[in-house]
Symmetry: C2
Subunit: 443 residues, 2 copies
């Protein structure tokens, strides 16, 4: 599990036809393609041409209230990635699945199956689902269980899944025609898990997959989320805004990982990056302006109202953002809230400024400029220990992703900080997490 | 929803490298390929070359106790079919999923997603899972809930899923760049289901899929299973042994369907057929002999012991099959038991004869002979009203399926009872169940 700290890692995180709220309205955009599998095949093939470690799909287990002006996730990630597996060779395939609203046996085999279908490229982004009752109400609850319990369930859930993945030893399948022995029963063990939240007998009904244990990814920011990530994940998505915060986050994860007996190099930290890349700064800025002009203000206000837990609908757009609640009173996504609050305190934006600053680009790190500027930014964060790589969000897809692959990737390669060909064939291999899968859980 | 009763329907049901217990030991067999996605891609492409309506994968939610001599299902059907969707164009993709051990919201979106990925080729084989505690114990139960309750749950589950599929009207996605309207909220409705077993709010987070409501398939044989099938399914798999039984089954389904206001033509009944096809009868018989000689007797006895609920392990092979329990005492699969019991009463086989008769070919209708003989058999069953088509089980894959496609399909076409090209592009289209999806549930 040696991690080459000389090279950074890249994950592509597509959403709809782009992460910018108004991407679908841009003249070059083809929003009807969000239901066309070939659109996703092409994006994954593009990521593969760019030698990305992985492509990742998010997931929310409910349709939001506000679909009038945008719909975010449309296809289910595991089925989508299974389809993509058939038309790609090397790029890793990370899907989001909730530990709150899934059954561990089924989820374990879905990912094991995807790992077979992709010859070892499956990864699971572990989420606990949100406090938004819309998700809970699709699963027989009125509201989601509280944050602490969600992470307690998640931890047990992950351990059950990893246990099931490991229920087959690597050489359990014998398939000896002469003797008639298909499998060695001594090398397939039941799990007999009897925990607080789950009872699962096992063994898994899918033979050991190429990676053994698919890559684990996590994106929690709360202490509980960080602990789950530091104890078990191989890669972590974050949405830190500044290099300083991101460096602190990375050190914090390293400290937590050490407490679980893991080395820092076992965890790849991937802050979100929204590169608005164009041949000149002026052209990049023009693209941002075009996109921001297409934002439907009511929609952006509704979204911000939810995130800030302040009613902004009908706000005076040129007034400053009104006072926010104390973080202790926030029921929803607290880390998102804190990120926005800090940004508002630092920049004191008007409502309109906040909309274009956030509503448009979802609050991940945004860099607007030339390929050189994007590469500089990434290089600096990487060298300064603020990132082991990046979770790349295309504001406008595939356009900006194409520019990134064509213009930025070669610069990173010239600097010797990005691979010039795939050196490994599995997702864990790409992330330098390719040692025995059984080491994945140490907590 | 006009069904062309002049043409029959074909579904391919692959399992491992063949349904014969010993297929994997045959010299031409490549058992290691059961984990290779390309093996399944090739099988599906073969079915598509043969103009089959669909390919279908079964599923059991546990690894059986006896893996030493064979392992049946290895990849999870929905992920596998999603992969296949990327390399096929027309053939329907039917996956098994349990209503006892799944969450309806998740299952609805998996199939809706598969339907998008395949441009309208998704189908769901609805099962309630078995009385075998191995399945239940992977989901926190000691034993499965009883048969009647399983079907009660299944009925509610199916209605929730179909309701979710219909939560988006066909033209809900507007995507009008000029006005900024992405979707019409008035055309997306929540389900607000509050039933005995499930509470599901909806709407689905996947826009309406090409078929609207994917094809529903069922394979129950009990009265409760038949009622579910007759009220809701578009296609039914059966394992009737004789033409007379199959005709009775079909009439029974028609009667039940009529009670739900459905026409017979809305339900396609597909008995299982195991064609052992070779250029001459002698060669076909030789292939059966080769396969039967490779059966591991202990394994076959263990399987029969479970199905007959009689301990046959260590039996005298040349003695007659011992007396069976009364059907009322059978805890497991009763329709399977009755089928075997009737066969034993009719043929009075020795244990060894029963093994080769059943253990080898799993008790579906077997025809050993020339392409002409297989076509005659199918033609007769079809004409006599014992079948609307067949669920084709290849004893040895892909070999026998290749022979069937090459030698038998043209004969069926010559007789005018099978399509010479795909006339429709969706799975419901193939099965003549392509009217408004909302009609699927009438119960
Ligand atoms: C890049 C990124 C992607 C995420 N994707 C998802 C997702 O697809 N589904 C989801 O429910 N949560 C997603 N989250 C939310 C996190 O899993 C997590 O809940 C959130 O960061 C709040 O942290 P906490 O759970 O520790 O409070 C994502 C977060 C980040 C930073
Ligand atoms: C061709 C065929 C395929 C079947 N596939 C499955 C399967 O994949 N998984 C499963 O649990 N049951 C499967 N079954 C079992 C049926 O769903 C059903 O449970 C069985 O026929 C007994 O009928 P009953 O449930 O009405 O008692 C299959 C049955 C047939 C005839």
């Amino acid at each position: 599990m040696t991690k080459n700290r000389e090279q950074l890692h890249l994950n592509l995180f597509p959403m709809g036809v782009g992460h910018h709220e108004a991407a679908w309205r841009h003249p070059v955009s083809t929003p009807a393609r969000i239901l066309d599998p070939r659109y996703y095949h092409e994006l994954a093939q593009l990521a593969e041409r760019g030698l990305f470690d992985s492509i990742f799909f998010g997931d929310i287990l409910a349709l939001g209230h506000r679909i009038k002006h945008n719909v975010h996730t449309v296809l289910e990630p595991i089925t989508l990635l299974s389809s993509i597996s058939a038309v790609t060779e090397r790029v890793g395939l990370i899907g989001t699945a909730s530990t709150t609203f899934n059954l561990p046996y089924n989820l374990a085999r879905m990912f094991a199956s995807l790992d077979h279908l992709s010859s070892g490229r499956a990864g699971w982004n572990i989420v606990t689902s949100s406090a938004d009752p819309l998700e809970a109400q699709n699963f027989g609850l009125e509201v989601n269980v509280d944050h602490a319990e969600r992470y307690e369930v998640a931890t047990e859930f992950v351990d059950v899944v990893v246990g099931l993945w490991n229920s087959w030893e690597p050489d359990a399948l014998v398939m000896d025609k002469a003797s008639g022995v298909f499998a060695d029963p001594a090398k397939v063990r039941s799990l007999d898990h009897q925990g607080k939240h789950f009872r699962v007998r096992g063994p898994l009904n899918v033979p050991r997959s190429p990676q053994g244990s698919p890559l684990l990814v996590q994106a929690g920011s709360s202490p509980a989320g960080r602990t789950l990530a530091a104890s078990r994940a191989h890669a972590i998505f974050t949405a830190q805004q500044s290099m300083e915060e991101s460096r602190e986050f990375r050190l914090d994860i390293h400290r937590r990982a050490a407490a679980f007996g893991r080395r820092p190099a076992e965890v790849t930290i991937l802050p979100g990056l929204v590169p608005i890349v164009a041949p000149t700064v002026a052209e990049a800025q023009e693209l941002v302006r075009e996109l921001n002009e297409l934002i439907v203000v009511d929609y952006a206000l509704a979204q911000l109202s939810v995130q800030l837990e302040v009613d902004l609908i009908g706000s005076e757009l040129d007034a400053k953002v009104p006072p926010l609640p104390d973080v202790e009173h926030v029921r929803g996504n607290r880390s998102r809230f804190v990120m926005l609050r800090d940004l508002i305190e630092a920049e004191r934006p008007t409502v309109r400024e906040l909309i274009t600053r956030i509503g448009g680009l979802r609050g991940h790190g945004v860099v607007v400029g030339t390929p050189q500027m994007i590469a500089d930014h990434m290089h600096t964060w990487f060298e300064e220990g603020a990132a082991d790589g990046f979770n790349l969000l295309g504001a406008l897809q595939p356009t900006i992703v194409e520019s990134f692959v064509k213009e930025v990737v070669p610069l990173l390669q010239d600097r010797g900080i990005f691979r010039t060909e795939y050196a490994t064939s599995t997702l864990r291999g790409h992330y330098g997490a390719d040692s025995s899968a059984r080491q994945a859980v140490r907590g």
